[in-house]
Amino acid sequence: MSFIDSLLAGLQLVSNVEAFLALALGVAIGVIGGAIPGMSATMAVALTLPFTFSMTPITGILLLLGVYKGGIFGGSIPAILIKTPGTPASSATVLDGYPMAEKGQAGKALGMALWASCTADLISNLALIFFAGFLASFALSFGPPEFFTLILFSLTIIAGVSGDSLLRGGLSAMLGLLLATIGLDLVYGTNRFTFENPNMMGGLNFIAVLIGLFAIPEILSMVWNPASQDGVARSLGRNKVTFQEYRRSFKSIVRGSFIGVFLGSIPGIGAAPSAFLSYSEARRKSPNKENFGNGEIEGVAASEAGNNGVAGATLIPLLALGVPGDVITAIIMGAFMIHGLQPGPMMFVLNVDIIYGLFIGLIVSSIFLFFLGSVAIRGFKYVADIPRGVLFPAVLILCIYGVFAVNNNIFDVGVMFAMGGVGFVMMRYKVPAAPFLIAFILGPLLEDNFRQSMLMSGSSGWVLFRGPITWFFWTLTAITVFAIVRAGIRATRHQATGTSQP
C-alpha cells in the first residue's frame, strides 16, 4: 500500500462523528483532570481506560490520546495560578508562570502556555509521523551506559534552574538525591532508610513530594505572614498574550519541541526533565537571563513546549517498538492489547489503517487542544481573583484529596505535609526547589543505570565509554560543566569588584 492509500484508509477509519467526539471529549477530560492537582494526566488516562473497552479500537485509543494531550496542557493551569503543578510535567512552568500570575498576568501566562503547547504538540506529532522509524531505531541503541551519560548531562540542568547561587542549587539537588535513595535497593533488594515501614519501601511518592514542595510552602508562608493576603490584591487576569510575544518566544518553543521529541522518543525519561531542559536552554540563550524566574514569558513558553513536545514523541517507541516510554503510554499500550492490537513493527504492516487513523487524529487533537484550552483558560483564570484567605485553604484541601487519590494511601498525605515543611525552610533560606525536583527524578535513574552498566561489564568502567552516543554525551557534559564553572568564576569576580567599589 502506498502512502496515499494508507492515508485514505486511515481517513476512512476516523471520518465518523464518534471518533472526533471521543477525541474532543478526551481533550476536555484531560484538561480538567490535568488542572486538578494530584489527579495528573496519568490518573486521568487510567480512569478513562475502562470506558474504552466497549468502543471500537480507534475511537477508544483516540479518547485516551486526547486525555493524555489535554492532561499535559491542563497541568499548567494550576501551576500558573496556584503554584501547584497539576502534573509532574508542568513543574517547570511554575518557575515563571506563578510569578507572572502574581504580577497580575495570569491570562498572559496561560495564553502563552496554550500557544506553546499547541505548537509543540503539532511539531511532536509531525515528528512522530515522519521520523518514527528513524527515532525508534535510535532509541534501541540506548542501553544503560548511554542512559547513564544522558542523565549525567541532564543533571547539568540544575545549574540553569539554581537562580542566583549555584551552591544553594547544588545543596537543593543533594537533598533531592538523598531523599530519592529511600526505598528498596535496585540490585540487592535491601532496605534503605525505610525504618521498617512498608509504606517507605516503595520510596516516597513522587507526586506527594512534588505538591509538598511547591504548593504547601505557599500556604505556610501565608500562615507565616497573613498580612500578605491583602497587600497585593492580584489584578484581574484579563490580559492576553500578543502575537509579538509569541514571535519573540518562537525560537525557544521550537527548541523546546525538539528537545521534547528527542527525549520523548527514548523510553524512560518522561516529560518533566524535558521541560526543565528546555527551560534551562531557553534561559541560557536568552538576552534577558535575569528575568527568568521572575515572570519571564519566554520561560513559560519554553517549559510548556518542552513537555508537550514529549506527548507525540512518546508514541514513537510505543508504536514502532511496542515499548512504552512512560506510565501513561504503558496504560495506552494496555488499551491496544485489550483490543487485540499488538504495537510494534508488524503493526505498520497489519494495521496500517489504524496507524494512519491515529496520525490523523493526533493532528486534529492539536487543534481541539487549542480551542478547548482557550475555553478552559477563560473559565479558570478567575481563580487568580479569589481572595487568598479562601483560596489557599481550598488549595490545601484539593492537595489532600489529590495526593490521597494517587496511590489510595494516607501515608502519602503525611509525606506531602513533611515535604511542605522542608520546602518552606528551603524557601526561607532562599534554596531553590527546582534542582531538588530534577535530582529527585534523575537521581535514581543515574544510580540504577550506573549499576546496570557495571553489572553488564563485570565492574569495568570502560563500558561507560562504549560507543559514539556515550562519547557525545560525555563531550556535551564536559563542555557544559566547563561553561558553568567559567560563568561561576566570572560571577564571583564580578561580585568581588562590586564589593571594592560600593
Binding site: 496519568t42 487510567a46 481506560l49 475502562p50 534501541l140 541503541s141 540506548f142 542501553g143 544503560p144 526505598g183 528498596l184 535497593d185 535496585l186 540490585v187 540487592y188 533488594g189 535491601t190 532496605n191 525504618f195 521498617e196 515501614n197 512498608p198 509504606n199 517507605m200 519501601m201 516503595g202 520510596g203 511518592n205 523510553p267 524512560g268 517498538l321 511496542g322 515499548v323 512504552p324 506510565v327 504503558a330 496504560i331 495506552i332 499500550m333 494496555g334 492489547m337 485489550i338 487485540g340 499488538q342 504495537p343 510494534g344 513493527p345 508488524m346 503493526m347 496511590n407 489510595n408 494511601n409 494516607i410 501515608f411 503525611g414 540504577d448 546496570q452 553489572l455 553488564m456 563485570g458
Partner: protein
C-alpha cells in the same frame, strides 16, 4: 513513623462499624486493592474480572491501585485491614509466592492472608532476540556455559528474577547465579526492552508480556512452561524438553483477604467467582491475552499457592538467593 502507621492501618479499615452483620454481606461497596500499577498485567486482569464479578456480587467494586515495593505496599494495606470482607486484594505470583520465598525483609508472610480464589494461570516463556542467533534452549545453555550471558528481570524478588535462575538450574547449570548475570530493571516493560537492546541475553516472563514482541518477530521464544503449547508461541513446552518440574513455574492471579476472614465470606467469594468466570466475554478477553482460566476454590487456591511457595523457597535456599537485610 508509628503514628503514620497507625493512621494507615485505620484508614484501610475504611470506616467499618463495630457491628458489621455478616448475614447481609455485602451491604456496601467492596474495596478491591490492586498492589501493582495501572496498565500492568495484574491491573488489566483485575479490571477485566471486575465487570462480571461486580454483577455477581451485586454491589459496586471499588478498584484501588496501591503500588510500591513489588506489590508489598498494597499487600500490607490489606493485611492490616479489618477482616470483614470489605477490603480484598488481587494477589499475584510476584507478591505472594516469589516475594515471600525470596525476601526475608518482607513485612508479611503467607499466613497473613486467606486466599479465596485463584482464577487465572499465566504460562511463562523464555525468549531471546533474533540477533543473538540462539534458536533453542540447548544453544542458550551452551552459551551460558561459555560465560557472558545476562538475563533481565522486573526487579529483585520478581517472578522474572526467580524464573531465570530456576530455568538455568533445571537445565543443568550448577551455579546459575555465577554462570549468568542478573540485571534487574524497573518494571516488566523495561525488562523486555533490556533484551531488545542487547543489555541482557534472555528473559523468562509471562507469555502475555512477550506476545506482542513475539508476534512482531522482535523476540524468539525458546520454551513455554505450561503442559500445553501456547498459541502464537512457536516453542516447545518444558515437558517436551524433558523438564516437567518447570511446569510449577507459572504466573497466577487470585483474590485474598486478611488472615482471619470469616468462612461465610470466603464461601460467598467462591460462589461469586464461579459465576464471574463462567462469563463468556470475560473468558474470551482473558484467553485472547494468553491466560488460562482455571478457577480454584478457597481450599485449592491455598494449596496451590503454598505448593508453589515451597518449591520456590527450596530453590532459593539451595542457591542462596534469599534477600536478607
Amino acid at each position: 513513623m508509628k503514628f503514620v502507621k497507625a493512621a494507615f492501618i485505620g484508614a484501610m479499615a475504611l470506616g467499618v462499624t463495630a457491628t458489621a452483620a455478616f448475614a447481609e454481606y455485602p451491604e456496601r461497596p467492596i474495596n478491591m486493592v490492586i498492589p501493582y500499577g495501572a496498565g500492568g498485567a495484574t491491573d488489566i486482569s483485575a479490571r477485566t474480572i471486575a465487570e462480571p464479578l461486580g454483577s455477581a456480587v451485586g454491589k459496586p467494586l471499588v478498584m484501588s491501585n496501591i503500588t510500591g515495593a513489588g506489590g508489598a505496599t498494597g499487600s500490607v494495606a490489606v493485611q492490616n485491614a479489618k477482616a470483614d470482607g470489605y477490603t480484598m486484594l488481587f494477589a499475584r505470583v510476584g507478591s505472594h509466592s516469589v516475594n515471600p520465598a525470596m525476601k526475608a525483609t518482607l513485612p508479611y508472610t503467607l499466613d497473613d492472608f486467606r486466599f479465596v480464589t485463584v482464577y487465572e494461570i499465566n504460562p511463562v516463556a523464555c525468549a531471546v532476540t533474533p540477533a543473538s542467533g540462539i534458536k533453542s534452549m540447548d544453544e542458550l545453555i551452551a552459551k551460558v556455559k561459555d560465560g557472558g550471558v545476562a538475563y533481565s528481570s522486573s526487579g529483585v524478588g520478581s517472578l522474572l528474577h526467580l524464573a531465570g535462575a530456576m530455568v538455568l538450574k533445571e537445565f543443568g547449570i550448577e551455579k546459575p547465579l555465577e554462570a549468568a548475570t542478573h540485571i534487574p530493571q524497573k518494571g516488566g516493560g523495561a525488562a523486555a526492552t533490556a533484551v531488545l537492546n542487547g543489555t541482557a541475553t534472555f528473559l523468562c516472563t509471562n507469555s502475555s508480556a512477550l506476545a506482542s514482541f513475539v508476534a512482531n518477530g522482535q523476540l524468539v521464544p525458546l520454551m513455554v512452561t505450561t503442559p500445553k503449547p501456547v498459541e502464537g508461541f512457536d516453542a516447545p513446552t518444558a515437558a517436551d524438553l524433558g523438564k516437567p518440574a518447570l511446569e510449577q513455574l507459572v504466573g497466577w492471579t487470585g483474590i485474598a483477604g486478611p488472615a482471619n476472614l470469616p468462612d461465610d465470606v470466603a464461601e460467598k467469594w467462591g460462589a461469586w467467582m464461579a459465576a464471574a468466570t463462567a462469563d463468556e466475554g470475560f473468558r474470551s478477553k482473558m484467553e485472547a491475552r494468553g491466560s488460562v482460566i482455571e478457577l480454584m476454590n478457597p481450599k485449592d487456591a491455598n494449596e496451590f499457592i503454598r505448593g508453589q511457595y515451597t518449591i520456590f523457597r527450596a530453590l532459593v535456599d539451595e542457591l542462596g538467593m534469599r534477600i536478607e537485610g
